[in-house]
Amino acid sequence: MTTTTRERARVCPTPTAVWLVVEGLWTWYRRNWRSSAVSSVVEPVLFLLALGLGFGSQIQPSAATGGLPYVQYLAPALVVASALQTAAFESTYPVLAAFKWNRTFLGIASTPITSRQLAMGQLLWIFLRLSVSSAAFLVVAALLGAVTSVGVIGSLFAALLTAMALAAPLVAYSASLDTEGQQFSAIFRFIVVPMTVFAGTFFPVDQLPAWVRPIVWLTPLWHGTELSRASAFGTGELLPVLGHLVYLTALVVIGARLAVRTFTRRLEV
């Protein structure tokens, strides 16, 4: 083939290669970004309006809410919970689709991009996409008067860390599936939704029966919510904060390693 411009194909260094994967996923995503923008920003805003302002108007600021109006108590937790939900979606169907239904990842495997770079690109893409939607939510929350201090910047960080703590292992799992994705609705129904409802987003975990609490402590959402409120309200204590950070970071690291492994196994057979 002859070409007008002359350029040779080459192997990109890993950071560039990972970025090219992000670029490809972005091209795919932006074709209908509006609908998913609605679910990842507008939905949590509706929650904030209905539960924070509406339902919250019936709740007296008390020790349980840190002496704050309910909407301000809720906002830093809601950003974490909604990032987690968006992460759960982005880590499941689109990943399985790219391996099984569209097989686009199989096409990428024939390019100089490696399985490891592809896995890292997928995770980086989810991270960037969550950064934008979580930041957008916090801006709206601030406009609604639900934000108390610049500490919410820490909440944004907590939300992203928590969401990735779920996303990384879930991406690894999705890459290992060869089904029609039935498992995903079970994950949403029995893991993501109960976590959102019981892991401290809407009411303190102390309100739960003592035997349930250890289960809650295992969820990334509880750790993220604690971190987020600690930052937003300036109530953090060194040791617990460190503990939450270590737990969530460990999940991200283990999940990312597993993702690299399942991508490699799936593509290099």
Partner: protein, 321 residues
């Protein structure tokens, strides 16, 4: 900025290794199943090389190893003079791959598919945009450039997959069953495009289970069966070596073909469910002899030997089973 095609590099590689692809005792195992059982291959620059074989013969497994996607289990393999185990990305940068099943992004446009794919090869956006225009023309998809891929016909999707595989100006193009499932017009259009690539000096490796495709496209081919290479040569050589000059077909409608009655009429007889194939140097003479013996076929035909006959002889069954 260097030229997009690189015949000098191809030539240099060839001199160094005696081939674009070189395999010795190559094997591939999936658990207990041995898909490829020790094959030797040499593909020379500029040739069109074919793998012919029934489903499950090990063609695709071999192709996936050569395309540096699937790691080999054993043996030696070099592609473009490099080892896929250690230099996979470097090799893949210079290959074009057309997989058996299309893996286009159906939700994007034809053009976007080319753009995204080209970027994975480290090509600039400007280069990929210009190259896409040229490839869309080559694949006769210019008027569908900004349409989504999903509703395109099978033939169009296949042409797009081939166009996509050329985005990096590959030195070696690997096509795994490029025309399976296409209607005759779509197949001929595809063959025409592949023929043009050959004329431009692109080395092709093609797997197929269509005889006519192998005869049309391949300079040289190997027949694979059960994970092994059972014959190698040009289509003409294979026919000369494994088949007689003429083939007499005796078709039977109601009776089962009676092979015993035809015994001795030809060098070799193949029994199919509805007919006998008699491999003979003189078809008319054999037909006359058959009639004398009282064989009463519903119809008969004398024709030249083809690759299909070679295939029957070598693998003991028809190709598409």
């Amino acid at each position: 900025m260097r030229p997009a095609i690189v015949p000098d590099v191809v030539a240099e590689t060839a001199v160094r290794d005696g081939g674009l692809v070189r395999a010795r005792g190559l094997t591939k195992q999936f658990g207990d199943f041995e898909a490829v059982r020790g094959i030797d291959l040499d593909v020379e620059p500029g040739e069109a090389f074919g793998f012919l074989g029934p489903n499950g013969a090990g063609k695709s497994s071999t192709m996936r190893m050569v395309s540096c996607v699937s790691p080999r289990t054993g043996g030696d393999l070099t592609v473009l003079g490099m080892d896929p185990r250690t230099q996979g990305p470097d090799i893949r940068a210079r290959l074009g791959v057309v997989p058996q099943q299309d893996n286009l992004d159906n939700e994007l446009t034809v053009r976007q598919n080319l753009h995204i794919y080209g970027r994975y090869f480290g090509l600039s956006k400007a280069h990929v945009r210009a190259k896409a225009v040229e490839l869309l023309d080559f694949a006769q998809l210019t008027d569908r450039a900004d349409a989504e891929v999903e509703p395109l016909s099978g033939g169009m999707k296949r042409r797009l997959t081939i166009a996509r595989s050329l985005i990096n100006d590959p030195e070696l193009l690997l096509l795994d069953e490029p025309t399976t499932g296409l209607d005759p017009q779509a197949r001929h259009l595809l063959w025409d495009r592949l023929f043009r690539l050959r004329q431009q000096g692109v080395t092709l490796i093609i797997t197929t289970h269509y005889m006519d495709e192998a005869e049309q496209l391949c300079d040289r081919l190997v027949v694979m069966d059960g994970g092994k290479i059972v014959a190698e040569g040009s289509p003409g050589e294979l026919i000369a070596r494994y088949c007689s000059r003429e083939v007499l077909e005796l078709r039977f409608v109601t009776d089962k073909p009676d092979a015993a009655a035809a015994e001795g009429l030809a060098d070799r007889i193949e029994v199919l469910p509805d007919r006998l194939l008699l491999y003979t140097s003189d078809g008319e003479a054999s037909l006359a002899a058959a009639h004398q013996r009282g064989l009463a076929p519903a119809s008969s035909l004398v024709r030249r030997g083809t690759l299909e006959d070679v295939f029957l002889r070598l693998t003991g069954r028809t190709l598409v089973d």
